[in-house]
Amino acid sequence: MGAALLAKFGPQLINLLAAVLLLLAFAMLTQRRILSLINLFAAQGLVLAMSTALVAALTGQAHLYLSAAVTFALKVLLLPWILHRLIRRLNVKWDVETLINIPTTMLVGIVLVILAFNLAAPIAQLAGTVTRAGLGIALASVLLAFLMMITRSKAVPQVIGFLAMENGLFFAATATVYGMPMVVELGVALDVLVAALILGIFLFEIRERFDSVDTRHLERLQER
């Protein structure tokens, strides 16, 4: 009974989670406050872990459970905690600046989603996995996170954009090639990279604090 239900609703649930992932990517794009941005990022990590666990249950790939557990620990617990600490240290809870205004960003976002869906449609035809429809969404959330990185002038939202991009990549990996044990390896490796990057930015920001409290405007001036 349980197995039959899972086989029936599993793929649909994965599609639903994929859609929620895209929704969260859009919410991050339009969010002005850093604090909410971090919460949205944690929510995205949770959705990602859930969908990975679901793919694992559907396909019986045991290593994906591990991958889901790592995702949960890292992206729902550890990274948001680090980010919360970071913004408390830097005292930048209320940053609001975007380079382009938000409605325009959303319009560009829609264009990116259409582009991603068009690009992914022929590739998804080739993939034989239950989650292949998720590829377009994964690509779209990668592009949206990229857009967020471009349109934010402050360092912390850019880091979150980068992490969200990695979320999209991870989802693309589980959606297209869940048969490969490399996914776990790749995911963990990327996550380590991400953690290293955060620490790098952390140190960078601290160093910058010795010069001034303002984070991004001054950094641009420093370039000369």
Binding site: Q12, L16, L22, L107, V113
Partner: protein
């Protein structure tokens, strides 16, 4: 058309007319509880309507016939809209009168009349409110249409009864696009019903009001009709939301037992929906009027995303 259909249609219309003030009262009561107030009680909207119907009508000297006709026209539009949305059964004789697109048109017609009436007397508040109402309306309408188009794409029909039949009575399928459409619809209906992120229904004589500014010049039975129509609008939007996103319990065709069971299901769903609305209102702050385009733009984009997701994941 069957006897059950006729009965469903009649009961549905009567129910909408009678229950609409109760829904408003319930939302106000929930909001009062959430704000730690005791609240005016569930029946307050009926008492207000009763009081207003007994009072005399005061008209401005330069009020045109349009000003006097508008309350009845608005009420008529919304009563027809309430009759078209399936709440109890899907076999409705009036269903052929208006599909989802015509329903949006009916709501737009009501908005047009209330805006014209707001400008009619020529007071500053009236035209200010009317212009803001049109601003909100022209941004909210495309988003509402997109939400309805998403549901229409799923069921291959713009007829609301067919949409409900498809969503409620076929094999249960999860539609991710409806999640997007649901968020968009919630945002649109908050804006359209003059609820808190866009307008504050409890405010009077403030520079921020939209709906109340338009109806300031009305009194007596005219005001009663408009208040009743506003309640009906909230009821219609709630029922559209239930029909699209929680259509469970709505009877199929001329199923008598289903019709009888649909009534408690509808009341329970409306009670939960009203409480949720009060919760949203209690948790959010009213935004500046110039933020409204951004808010409604988000709703529109979410609705477009719903269409895209439908094409990508479900087609």
């Amino acid at each position: 058309m069957s006897a059950a259909g006729l009965a469903a249609q009649f009961t549905e219309l009567m129910l909408a007319l009678l229950l609409a003030p109760l829904l408003t009262g319930w939302v106000n009561q929930c909001r009062a509880w959430l704000q730690n107030r005791s609240g005016p009680g569930l029946l307050q909207p009926y008492r207000v309507l009763g009081k207003l119907f007994q009072k005399d009508v005061m008209l401005a000297h330069n009020a045109s016939p349009l000003f006097r006709a508008a309350p009845y026209l608005i009420f008529g539009c919304l009563a027809l809209a309430a009759a078209v949305v399936p709440t109890l059964g899907t076999d409705l004789p009036l269903n052929a009168a208006a599909d989802a697109i015509a329903l949006v048109g009916l709501l737009a017609l009501a908005r047009l009349f209330i805006s014209l009436a707001g400008m009619d007397v020529g007071t500053a508040f009236g035209s200010l409110g009317a212009r803001r109402e049109m601003l909100v309306g022209f941004l909210a309408e495309p988003a509402l249409l997109m939400v309805l188009f998403t549901a229409s794409l799923i069921s291959h029909s713009t007829s609301l009864a067919t949409i409900v039949d498809t969503l409620a009575h076929r094999e249960f399928v999860i539609y991710p696009s409806l999640a997007f459409a649901g968020v968009a619809f919630t945002m649109v209906s908050l804006a359209e019903n003059a609820r808190i992120p866009v307008d504050n229904p409890a405010t009077h004589l403030e520079l921020t009001m939209i709906h109340e500014a338009m109806v300031l010049e009305y009194s007596g039975r005219h005001l009663a009709m408009i208040e009743w129509a506003a309640s009906l609008k909230l009821f219609v939007y709630s029922c559209i939301g239930l029909a699209l996103f929680f259509p469970f319990g709505i009877a199929q065709g001329g199923d008598w037992l289903g019709l009888v069971l649909a009534l408690p299901a509808l009341v329970a769903e409306l009670a939960v929906g009203g409480a949720a609305l009060a919760l949203i209102e209690a948790l959010s702050a009213k935004m500046r009027i110039f933020r409204a385009p951004e808010y409604l733009g988000t709703a529109f984009l979410l609705a477009v995303l719903a269409l895209l997701v439908h094409v990508m994941l479900e087609a």
